[in-house]
Symmetry: C2
């Protein structure tokens, strides 16, 4: 029996009190209901001739922001995707269970010869429930507003499910959604859509409890994380992940290498393909939605990495480099990449091709090692696409601002348009304690150039493990970055929120200003703090 604190229920929120209510939009094609958080405004604002007395907001917090839903972490969230009954004829229960500790639900996988990936459906011209879901979600019920918004000499068009299908089919966007994660509310990662952010959580060997990590995952979603990566190590790694998945409305990513290494007794050179493969299957059956796989670092890259100022800073990269060197063999993730893809395809897990050679300091940015690996990631992208597996590409890291654009350009060229997912980039090495800001700076720029998802960085980067407050700060500043990039890219929905805020500001409508902020709780708190300090009260 686990003991969760009240935090798991986001009590202060569900979310943001009377001004908000949870609303649902039905699909036309599939029996889906897309949740949003609709914000009531205290005034009516007229924008481009349309009156707004409320606005539906994109909501990453899932059922947690719906006061009508009872949250029971012991039971997990409602498996809403099961009710869509879309995949049933192409899937079957796994016959041999790889791990006894997996929960009550019997995991599914694709029947032999059947493809259940979003990419496979998209290529066949099939619009899945997930595709329709993300189209509705990205439009935020603002189709009328979108159609008034100027875009490239004409007016913008709302997203359609068919457009989503095309983007997925072309490999320009992915919908990470393991068939074994039915609690997931689908989201899309691709540069035609809203810029997304990921929050990393995870205990360390000495660190926090399962409850704390589940609460961190929920907490991250509640502040706006679009996906969560569980980077747990140490004992209870399987069980922690199980709890996180069952209670997570957002896609969960992992780096399976971390668990494989635990199984190899923590000794990199003892890793084997078999150990790694079993780990993939174990996590696939639990429902992990995307895997970071460091398949692009090859023996030929290692001399260039040795010449660097800070070598290899990616943990997965360092593990693989050590394995290759000690065993004098090529990276087994590369040599077994086809088999990896076959596993991914059976559950529709997206591959996040890891940048094992991301620069760890600005002096190493855009170097031979980094771009050498990126070229291999481009080749692996084509290989994954042959297997109908969805792919995104991970990117740096530490990059001076003037070299950020080259990163985006090379990624598009070498990786055939697959979505880019970057950590920062950090634009200086000396911002310890403020690396979340440092990352938001580089992140905004690369997202404005076309990066699809930003991995958050917290104030504890380079210093230690984030606590809950660090998670919040990390999430919110990267929401600022992602939103600023959406503004720069001319996303009509993003512009409406800014316009309403500006009109509220001009009208001194404080409640609306707080509620339209990316972090309403912070805005309200700082306002009250300032009023109190100057002896004013609201009484």
């Amino acid at each position: 029996m686990n003991t969760f604190s009240d935090n798991i229920f986001c009590p202060e929120h569900r979310m943001y009190g009377n001004a908000s209510k949870k609303t649902y939009t039905r699909g036309c094609i599939h029996p889906i209901e897309v949740g949003m958080r609709t914000l009531s405004l205290t005034k009516t604002y007229t924008c481009r001739g349309i009156d707004f007395s409320s606005i539906p907001l994109y909501d990453t917090s899932g059922p947690y922001s719906d006061p009508a839903v009872t949250i029971n972490p012991e039971k997990g969230l409602n498996p809403l995707r099961d009710s869509w009954k879309f995949n049933s004829e192409n899937t079957e229960p796994v016959s041999e269970r790889d791990n006894e500790t997996t929960a009550a639900r019997v995991p599914l996988r694709a029947k032999a010869g059947r493809a259940v990936t979003q990419l496979a459906y998209a290529r066949k011209g099939v619009i899945t429930p997930e595709m329709e879901y993300v189209a509705i979600r990205e439009n935020q019920q603002l189709e009328e507003w979108i159609a008034t918004f100027p875009s490239g000499g004409k007016t913008a068009e709302p997203f359609t499910a068919e457009f989503v299908r095309q983007e997925v089919a072309a490999g320009r966007a992915i919908i990470p959604a393991n068939i074994n994660h039915p609690e997931l509310e689908p989201m899309i990662i691709g540069r035609s859509f809203r810029v997304k952010i990921n929050a990393n959580i995870g205990n360390s060997a000495m660190g926090s409890s399962i409850e704390e990590e589940v609460e961190k995952a929920v907490w991250a979603c509640r502040w706006g994380a679009d996906t969560v990566m569980d980077l747990s190590t140490g004992t209870n790694i399987h069980q922690t992940r199980e709890w996180i998945l069952r209670n997570s409305p957002v896609p969960i990513g992992t780096v399976p290498m971390y668990q494989a290494l635990e199984k190899a007794g923590g000794i990199a050179e003892n890793l084997t393909w078999e150990l790694y493969r079993d780990t993939l299957v174990e996590q696939a059956e639990q429902g992990v939605d995307y895997f970071t796989i460091h398949a692009g670092i090859l023996q030929e890259h290692l001399p260039a990495a040795d010449r660097r100022m800070t070598g290899i800073v990616s943990r997965g990269g360092a593990i693989m480099a050590k394995w290759c060197k000690t065993n004098n063999r090529e990276n087994f993730l590369y040599t077994h990449f086809d088999e990896i893809c076959e596993i991914m395809r059976s559950y529709d897990i997206a591959i996040s091709l890891g940048d094992a050679l991301r620069p760890g300091c600005i002096a190493d940015a855009n170097d031979e090692a980094q771009f050498g690996e990126l070229k291999v990631l481009g080749e692996l992208t084509l290989q994954a696409w042959k297997h109908n597996v969805q792919v995104m590409i991970e990117g740096p890291g530490h990059v001076p601002l003037n070299l950020v654009e080259e990163n985006m350009r090379k990624q598009l060229e070498l990786c055939h348009g697959a979505p880019f997912y970057t950590l920062g980039p950090l634009t200086t090495d000396i911002a310890a304690g403020y690396d979340h800001v440092n990352s938001a700076i580089g992140g905004t720029l690369i997202a404005a150039y076309g990066c699809s998802m930003l991995c958050y960085v917290t104030p504890k980067e380079h210093l230690g493990l984030p606590d809950k407050n660090d998670v919040r700060e990390g999430v919110v500043v990267h929401k600022v970055a992602a939103h600023a990039a959406d503004i720069a890219k001319g996303n009509p929905v993003a512009w409406l929120q800014d316009e309403l805020m500006s009109r509220a500001r001009y009208a001194f409508a404080w409640e609306d200003q707080f509620n339209l902020s990316i972090d309403p709780v912070k805005a309200r708190t700082l306002y009250a703090e300032s009023r109190a300090a100057s002896g004013q009260t609201d009484g």
Copy 2:
């Protein structure tokens, strides 16, 4: 008798304990001693063949970081520029004192027909002590390192006093240094030099005490503010400024309009040129180093401003717009601009041409009103230069990231290369509570494009007045922005600090990592917090 808290002495610091010591570099031409904070490292790091076991850091905190100096705020800082005895033959004591409350020292002004501005000297080919000071200061005693650093196909060159003179003579850089602010340690604002940041302080009518504002000014310098603007309003405005000036090692800027409005009973339409002129002289004699003057907003711009979503958000701009409309006359700051320049010239006060029409929301960015005013600011720049008055140009504001570059390009074109000094820009309107981060994002980009100084924004922007913690957060995140821009611009001195940090990181040299951080106190605190949370101790 004022009562200062221990904060005024920066006790925790003076600064950062045993690893730091204050060092001084003598001038070759003038009897100057340029203070730096030299950091000892726990290891010796070899960078481009040079061994570093210490590094001198640019230090904005002046005597406050020198434990050998006794700080007595009642007495003020040592008037070090007086000891340089450079201007004495061109200046004379003012005969009629405009304000009884001015402190013991008799203010100086230029003798009739004499020019005492840095611009006048520079144009005559004279290297002033201030010019030599900033050249030494920008090099940080790192001439040997600078000469190894690649720059445009050859190696970089250290700054020379002659180069500083040329930049000032061309109007591309300014050294704000009122002859009545002898406590000042000269600094330079120009795009060939290190990017600078400004911190705004100032009480409101109901707000804080003189002591608190002086402490805020010192506090801002100690975290890295290169200049401080005192935006105080209400009573005690003269006295507060006097205390700040006498205790400030950095240039102080003001918006004289705020005090003139107080004198006009708070009623904009009652302002007169005479009232304003007297205020200029009063503040000039106190030693204010630069004045924000909203002389570029004209009657012809007002219709365009009326068409905006959020109108005029600059306080000075709103005051002048109201004055023009009510009196149906042209902006008196524009019509009396020659007389303003004559006053500025007599004390060597730099003009910061205010952007009264800066956009207050992203929808208003780069519009007709903003660029219409910018064109006038360019004309006024030429006019000020005719009077040998130093000029910089203030810039926005709220600007989407994709329009930031145009701001810099237009400013360079229209304002003849005068330094640009921007507030942010903020890249979205909905980051209330995180607008310091929002501002750092836009600020980094515009500084990388060539903006010379960033005005900080604190977490309280749009919400209330900053307290001391907000001042620190605002200063530090803008130091991150300014430094990231220096990195992007290839400043060798900035790169060295990053390289040392990266080598310290690779060597797990924690003390060096903390001390090389922009905010060592924060880095150390977060590290300790994380260690404590995971049950580790350093014992």
